[in-house]
């Protein structure tokens, strides 16, 4: 085991997959000479050359679409979009093309490609650069959407995404790039797409999150353990397909749930989770499912406003405690 950052886990995996398979190429803005806006691709141009690590023009629709076309001929392009906000320029190629080509042509041609892109607010980047719009992609059959919350997950999910024959969007997170965690040496683990994981067992309440919110959820659960509150944490890991069973099984055990999401509440991912819980565990629920989500505003720049608008350790803790007291369970 080594303790490495989320960033390092992504970089190591990219490098290893490029060594393993000549069909893996990288495309993106500033990923070569500049080594990536967030330095995920540091050193890779040097190691693999321009043929395999391609700096693209600022043309998201053009180069994401080119990756789709290259994948149709059997390459395995891994595209970096600087942040998920810029995916909006490429959304036609992602939703109307990458997600449709396999089905619309009767299963003749798969599209084995990966789009890596970070979401995440909290960096004082203002409204256009702080959105969490993974929902747009998680909504679409034909796409697979993964959201790792730890370095180990980042590595095993990226590996799975590259080896999968379908278009996969790997949602990274600006707030997680520097976080550290244990990753096995000579790691070869391949995540199973479509599976959530109970990352911490507990008995009082289920806390469901993904990406930064799953990481934050684990911290909250650790802190609450000291107050004798036992929180079970479900890390969604895969936003599409969605593993409803793991969520529902946990809620059947605990009887109540809080969903923590970094996106806007209305129509958000938490809405889908809450609906799934009432469908699958209605008789087991002791309290309404509680959602913690971003305030419904374009995210402001000023730090106090930004902080107030984003879900935090405090807001998740509060939601858990209030839900437990509604149930009548003792709150520490």
């Amino acid at each position: 085991m080594s303790v490495i950052t989320y960033r390092q886990a992504l970089r190591d995996t990219l490098r290893a997959e490029m060594h393993r398979d000549e069909n893996v190429i990288l495309l993106g803005e500033e990923i070569g000479v500049f080594e990536g806006s967030y330095k995920i691709t540091e050193g890779l141009l040097n190691e693999f050359g321009e043929r395999r690590v391609r700096d693209t023009p600022i043309a998201e629709e053009g180069f994401v679409g080119a990756a789709v076309g290259a994948a149709m001929l059997g390459l395995r392009p891994v595209v970096e979009l600087m942040t998920i906000n810029f995916s909006l320029i490429a959304i036609d190629q992602i939703i109307n093309h990458a997600a449709k080509i396999y089905g619309m042509f009767g299963g003749q041609n798969s599209v084995p490609m990966v789009i890596r892109t970070p979401g995440g607010g909290g960096q004082q980047l203002g409204a256009t650069h702080s959105q969490n719009i993974e929902l747009f992609y998680a909504f679409v059959p034909g796409l697979k959407v993964l959201a790792p919350s730890t370095p180990a997950e980042a590595a095993s999910m990226l590996r799975a995404a590259i080896r999968d024959d379908d278009p996969v969007l790997l949602l990274e997170n600006l707030g997680l790039y520097n976080t550290k965690g244990e990753v096995p040496d000579d790691d070869e683990s391949v995540a199973e797409i479509g599976r959530a994981a109970v990352t911490r067992e507990g008995s009082d309440i289920t806390l469901i999150g993904y990406s930064r919110m799953a990481a934050l959820g684990t911290q909250v659960a650790e802190a609450l353990a000291k107050e004798d509150i036992s929180v079970e944490v479900v890390d969604l890991r895969s936003l599409r397909p969605l593993d409803r069973q793991t969520i529902v099984d946990s809620v059947k055990k605990t009887g109540c749930a809080v969903v923590a999401e970094d996106d806007w509440l209305t129509y958000g991912i938490g809405a889908e989770i809450a609906a799934s819980i009432q469908e699958g565990a209605f008789d087991y629920l002791d309290a309404p499912v509680r959602r913690v989500a971003m305030a419904e505003v374009p995210l402001p720049y000023a730090k106090p406003l930004e902080n107030a608008a984003l879900p935090s350790t405090e807001s998740v803790t509060t939601a858990i405690k209030e839900t437990l007291s509604a149930v009548g369970k003792r709150v520490g």
Binding site: G65, A66, S110
Partner: protein
């Protein structure tokens, strides 16, 4: 030289003498240089597309075919000429006006008609319909219904060819209206930057749905629009199958040997409305007559007759074989099975995945 106009990359071309072409049926391509077999083959292919599309329009009106349905009527010479330039191993991407291209690239009239009928024997197994003909075997990698959607894809296919050092060329067809969408600019720029073996072909039928080129393109000489990317462009008379074949072959072979993109504009007349349901009321009587007078199938027929290549017997024989092929295609489609509802979830993912939803609309999310 053919009566093509040319634009050098980065430069400006000379005057092309106005937008409307002369009605003279003369072209540079001499019939005498061709074998009668070749000429008759082209004629037959053009006639096949003509009759196929007429039959398609009919079947659509009889509600045998659904959705949107755009025909190649009037563009037969362009389609057949372009397809002659491609090797079997070359790739083709087109827009939704794709029936003729599908047949021209090697799909059978049967499979194309069956796709139009939405049957499981169709090229895309009934999943695509009119706008989405696709066949990996013949390397026609799709008709696409989103205007401009095929451009980044085709460019990426050319990237894959180039990455592997292959000698295939990608042809990317589109309409005149498509030269105004962002994907056009992004794709041509990428293709030029990365030296990709691709030929972008703009079918200029003078209109998008009803909006003319002059009202939508600030540079209406479309073959010049590659200049911003130093991509050389040519314009060719799309009524003339030989001129189209020659221009397309020249550019395809240049793209192959030089490993760089080219642009070809083929001027063409759309004989009917934008799609089968469009009565094209926005057209003036003069425009309708002009389109009829420029019917490429009739024009080629007359040329071959005048040259003594198409005899009355031969004409009958070809007409009959085309009639039979189209009738057979329609029968085949009509008698083919509809896709089974049990196959509804067969093509969502290529790699099977845990927890993939297979819910039917009224099913509960959790079935006990």
């Amino acid at each position: 030289m053919a009566d093509t106009a040319k634009a050098k990359g980065g430069g400006t071309a000379g005057s092309t003498g106005g937008r409307r072409r002369s009605r003279k049926d003369d072209t540079s391509s001499r019939l005498a240089d061709e074998t009668p077999e070749t000429l008759l083959d082209f004629y037959r292919q053009m006639l096949l597309i003509r009759r196929f599309e007429e039959r398609t329009g009919q079947a659509y009106t009889q509600a045998r075919i659904g959705g949107y349905c755009h025909l190649n009527l009037g563009e037969e010479a362009t389609v057949v000429g372009l397809m002659q330039a491609l090797r079997e191993s070359d790739y083709l991407f087109t827009n939704y006006r794709d029936h003729g291209y599908a047949i021209g690239k090697g799909m059978s009239a049967r499979e194309v008609m069956a796709e139009l009928y939405g049957r499981s024997t169709g090229v895309s197994k009934g999943w695509g319909g009119s706008m989405h003909m696709f066949d990996t075997k013949t390397r026609m990698l799709g008709g696409y219904g989103i205007v401009g959607g095929q451009l980044p894809l085709a460019t990426g296919a050319a990237l894959a060819v180039s990455y592997r050092g292959g000698d295939e060329v990608v042809m990317c067809q589109m309409g005149d209206g498509t030269t105004n969408i962002g994907a056009w600019h992004e794709s041509l720029n990428i293709a030029a930057l990365w030296n990709l073996p691709i030929v972008y072909v703009v079918i200029n039928n003078f209109t998008g749905m009803g909006t003319t080129v002059e009202r939508s393109s600030a540079e209406p000489d479309l073959y010049k629009r590659g200049s911003a990317f130093r991509i050389e462009g040519e314009r060719v008379d799309g009524r003339d199958v030989l001129a189209v074949r020659d221009a397309a072959t020249r550019l395809v072979e240049k793209a192959r040997s030089e490993q760089r993109p080219y642009l070809l504009e083929a001027t063409s007349y759309r004989l009917k409305g934008h799609s089968v349901v469009d009565p094209a009321k926005y057209r003036t009587q003069e425009q309708i007559e002009e389109a009829r007078a420029n019917d490429p199938v009739l024009a080629f027929e007359h040329r071959l007759e005048q040259a003594g290549i198409l005899t009355e017997d031969k004409k009958q024989e070809i007409a009959e074989s085309v009639r039979a092929e189209v009738a057979d295609a329609a029968d085949f489609a009509e008698n083919s099975p509809h896709p089974e509802v049990s196959t509804l979830f067969d093509y969502t993912y290529a790699t099977p995945v845990a927890n993939e939803s297979r819910r039917m609309p009224a099913d509960p999310v959790f079935a006990e």
